[in-house]
């Protein structure tokens, strides 16, 4: 079995799978059971100021989007930070950390945007023996209305300021958790770095309304006839999160800033993908909320198996390995030519590739009277849509033409040389071109 131990901003854990700050980490009872199930670490559910705790709605707080077979693929919530007293949380954190010294225990914090508030909470957290803190600048509902959470995360200057206060007032590593509800994720990451953050973690949830009750005409979850936007998470947000992680990892300003990857991690494969794009570890919420703490066991065995197969000795070797291959569109090789190929033995003749290509792509698939589907290389632009709509894995693949072969669509010979848009004869800007390509 591969060595899964991970060190993230100096915090050691037996594996890179942490539970994200959320209901799974809201209390000692949960966290102990999570550690027994195998989780490498937790980020404790966000703590607020001392005093009367926040109050949650007493109606439904979650909404969901389902895939086939009612698989939960997207979850939306309007829950606030912990609604349990600060002192109780602190006592529990201390007890858990004492009993599980090998696991990572990071404490998420959100207090008003005033230095005295942060100065007040940092020492009492430090006193628990926790390994680090995470600043919740991401919560997009409820707390944001009170000037916290994403209200801070959307203003880089505030991020920098609060991060600096924390760094000045604690010896614990500081992880800044970012909100995706912004246009350019690099700006808040750069601000965190300027403030001295040890790492960023992302993404927090995305502003969302998951559904509308069409009998009562109210967004769901509906509280006494009304609804408010919530935060979206789960497998559906993974692609958005992956892109944001990659943006930070390949930005020269933040390239060396450690990242804790969050957003839709459900399997070992998701975790490995985040890590390949630059995340030092991952945090998980929805998968645990959907399937229970045991899911981590699949993540552990899967990642370990993968590392053994690939001869990868430590998780650190995966981190960032895909980053050099993330480029701008204008860098992509326009001389790389592929064609779709249908494996007739695997084809079950559903015709979805035909419908997709005929109606919405390039009319490059033909259908015979006896339902044989064939790709016409002289029409195929290699868009990959047929591969994406085919229900049988591996039935349609994209095959690259070798240099010297003729592309039947253009009649041109495949050159085998690299050539991108910046040097393409059709580019009006010629070699100087640096405009963003159209979406």
């Amino acid at each position: 079995m591969a060595d899964l131990t991970s060190t993230f901003v100096g915090i050691k854990s037996p594996n890179p799978f942490w539970l994200a700050s959320a209901p799974p980490t809201d209390k000692e009872y949960n966290v102990r059971r999570a550690f027994e199930a195998g989780w490498g670490g937790v980020v404790w559910k966000t703590l607020g100021e001392d005093g009367p705790p926040v109050v949650n709605v007493n109606g439904p707080r979650y909404g969901a989007i389902f895939g086939p077979d009612r698989r939960l693929i997207g979850l939306n919530n309007i829950e606030l930070i912990t609604d349990r007293p600060l002192q109780q949380n602190l006592r529990e954190i201390k007890a858990v950390k004492r009993d599980y010294p090998d696991r990572a225990v990071v404490v998420s914090l959100m207090v008003p945007c005033e230095e005295h508030a942060w100065k007040a909470i940092l020492p009492v957290v430090e006193e628990t023996g926790a390994d680090g803190i995470e600043l919740n600048f991401g919560c997009p509902h409820g707390m944001a209305e009170r000037g916290m959470g994403s209200a801070v995360g959307q203003v880089p200057e505030y991020i920098e300021m609060v991060t600096r206060w924390c760094k000045q007032n604690t010896r614990m590593p500081v992880i800044v958790k970012l909100t995706p509800n912004i246009t350019d994720i690099r700006k808040p990451a750069e601000a965190a770095r300027r403030g001295g953050a040890d790492a960023v973690s992302l993404i927090n949830t995305i502003n969302s309304i998951t559904s509308v009750d069409l009998d009562n005409f109210a967004p769901e979850p509906t509280i006494d006839g009304w609804g408010a936007h919530g935060g979206y998470c789960g497998p559906a947000v993974k692609p958005i999160a992956l892109n944001m992680v990659a943006e930070i990892a390949r930005n020269p300003e933040t390239a060396d800033l450690p990242i804790s990857g969050i957003g839709g991690v459900t399997t070992w494969r998701d975790a490995a993908e985040f890590m390949a794009l630059g995340a030092g570890n991952v945090q998980v919420c929805t998968a645990a909320m959907t399937y229970g703490f045991k899911v981590v066991q699949e993540m552990i065995s899967g990642l370990s198996e993968y590392m053994d197969e690939k001869g990868i000795a430590s998780t650190a070797e995966i981190v960032g390995r895909a980053v050099p291959n993330v480029k701008d569109w204008q860098d992509l090789n326009l001389n790389y030519i592929t064609k779709a190929k249908i494996d007739q033995d695997l084809c079950i003749k559903c015709g979805r590739c035909f419908a997709a290509c005929e109606d919405t792509s390039h009319q490059a698939i033909t259908m015979s009277d006896d339902r044989v589907f064939e790709v016409q290389n002289n029409e195929c632009v290699a868009c990959n849509l047929c591969v994406n709509v085919c229900p049988v894995e591996g039935c349609i693949s994209m095959e690259a033409l070798a240099p010297g072969e003729i592309d039947e669509r253009t009649g041109e010979t495949v050159s085998g040389e690299y050539g991108n848009w910046t040097t393409h004869p059709n580019n009006p800007g010629g070699t100087m071109c640096n405009v963003m390509p159209e979406e």
Binding site: I348, K349, C350, G351, V392
Partner: protein, 444 residues
């Protein structure tokens, strides 16, 4: 002493009272919402879907399944009924394993087709339970059409004609409408009096008058109908039955399977239907399977189906054969009856083994004898009482195109007419298509 399975002779009440309801309950029970959603999820929404092509009424199967999956079973039902007004009955009786489900691409992929039949039932039940009729009649055209036979072909045609605004009169020889839906289909395929419920629901379209106990052939002839109506659609099914032409066929307790089934279907109390201890069913079609299975379900101790050719030639599907054997029916392939033995009533049947030689069936010389106190003949139904003057081909009323007979004012469809398999769904399709053709002819 009360009767049980071992009591000799033909006896009723062989089983405990509760067993009947259980034995004759739904063969394919209805799906609940959850089952339907899970089952609907499996459909790939195929392009030019093979299932749709395989359906004789060309129901848009992928569309109705998608409608179920989005929580709109009633919309799904309308998609079904637009093509097949007896989609409810077809959902229960279609041999889907040789129609839509046989060609489902998930049968190819995983040997497990989408459960199209049961999903169709889920959808049609949902709409019918509301008691709503989804179609309305066009303005009265003033034209009158006579339909002879109130089976699936006749009722399907009547509905479509009424929808187009014609006034339809349906004549049926029997006292209830529905044809074999009411008198033939196995009881466990159509429990809870569904056939009559379906007819009542179908008639809500309006403009259809059903005349029971009104056979064509006596006082009323085809000629008189032609004089009184603008067009006539014949859907009289196959009322005759083939004889064994074997010694001893006339002994007591040797009877036609279809009569036994009709009696069973009309019984108010199934426990009152007498059945033999040793039952032999001769034949290899759906009728034979239904007679054998239902004999067994009534409590017969031994039921043996004997078919003169090999398994692969049997017209009952693989599924039907397995159903029979799973209920305890023994099937003997490749044996033909030589003679029925008995004094007054049947006591045994002697069979000869057969084999096929160059397409001809010959006996091998070896024989065997099975004890029997009841024998059902199920070796095929025949056209009987077809009006004179119409061209007949292969024992059926000859039709071309959409049910056109040799008489320009007369159409025919369903089992009594040439073309298509003898199935409920085919009858519905042919009735519908003939109605469309009549409508066009009448200037609709």
């Amino acid at each position: 002493m009360p009767n049980d399975m071992q009591t000799s002779g033909i006896r009723d009440h062989r089983l405990a009272p509760g067993d009947y309801a259980e034995n004759f309950s739904d063969l394919h029970p209805p799906m609940d919402d959850h089952e339907a959603l899970v089952a609907a999820d499996r459909c790939y929404f195929c392009h030019d879907a093979p299932c749709m092509e395989a359906c004789p009424t060309t129901i848009d199967i992928p569309l109705f399944i998608r409608e179920i999956s989005t929580g709109m079973a009633t919309a799904a039902a309308k998609t079904i009924f637009a093509q097949n007004i007896m989609g409810g009955m077809c959902a229960r009786v279609c041999p889907t394993e040789t129609l839509c489900e046989e060609v489902c691409v998930r049968e190819t992929a995983e040997h497990e087709p989408v459960q199209i039949g049961r999903l169709q039932r889920y959808a049609t039940d949902a709409l019918m339970a509301k008691g709503e009729h989804p179609f309305s009649r066009a303005a009265d055209t003033g034209k009158k059409v006579a339909v002879v036979g109130a089976g699936p072909a006749g009722m399907s045609a009547a509905h479509r004609l009424a929808m187009h605004g014609h006034s339809v009169t349906v004549f049926d020889a029997r006292s209830k409408a529905g044809g074999l839906n009411e008198y033939g289909i196995a009881a466990y395929k159509s429990p809870d009096n569904f056939a009559q419920a379906e007819v009542d629901w179908l008639l809500k379209i309006g403009g259809i008058e059903v005349k029971h106990d009104s056979p064509i052939g006596g006082d009323m002839t085809l000629d008189s109908l032609k004089r009184e109506y603008d067009a006539v659609f014949l859907a009289i099914g196959l009322r005759g039955v083939n004889a064994l032409r074997t010694e001893g066929e006339d002994l007591e307790n040797v009877r036609d399977a279809v009569d036994f089934i009709a009696e069973l279907r009309q019984a108010k109390d199934l426990s009152s239907i007498p059945v033999g201890r040793n039952v032999i069913v001769i034949g290899g079609g759906m009728t034979a399977v239904d007679a054998a299975v239902q004999s067994k379900l009534l409590g017969a101790e031994h039921v043996t189906m004997v078919y003169r050719r090999g398994k692969e030639r049997m017209s009952a599907s693989e599924f039907e054969q397995e159903l029979a054997t799973s209920k305890g029916v023994q099937i003997i392939y490749g044996a033909a009856p030589l003679r029925v033995i008995g004094d007054k009533a049947v006591e045994a049947v002697e069979f000869a083994y057969t084999r096929e030689e160059n397409g001809a069936l010959v006996t091998t010389g070896e024989t065997f004898t099975l004890p029997a106190d009841q024998v059902f003949k199920a070796i095929g139904q025949t056209l009987e009482g077809a009006p004179a003057g119409l061209e007949i081909e292969g024992g059926k009323i000859k039709v071309t195109g959409s049910g056109r007979t040799s008489d320009p004012k007369v159409w025919a469809g369903g089992d009594c007419a040439t073309g298509g398999d003898d199935l409920t769904v085919t009858a519905v399709a042919e009735g519908r298509d003939a109605a469309e053709d009549i409508n066009t002819k009448l200037g609709g």
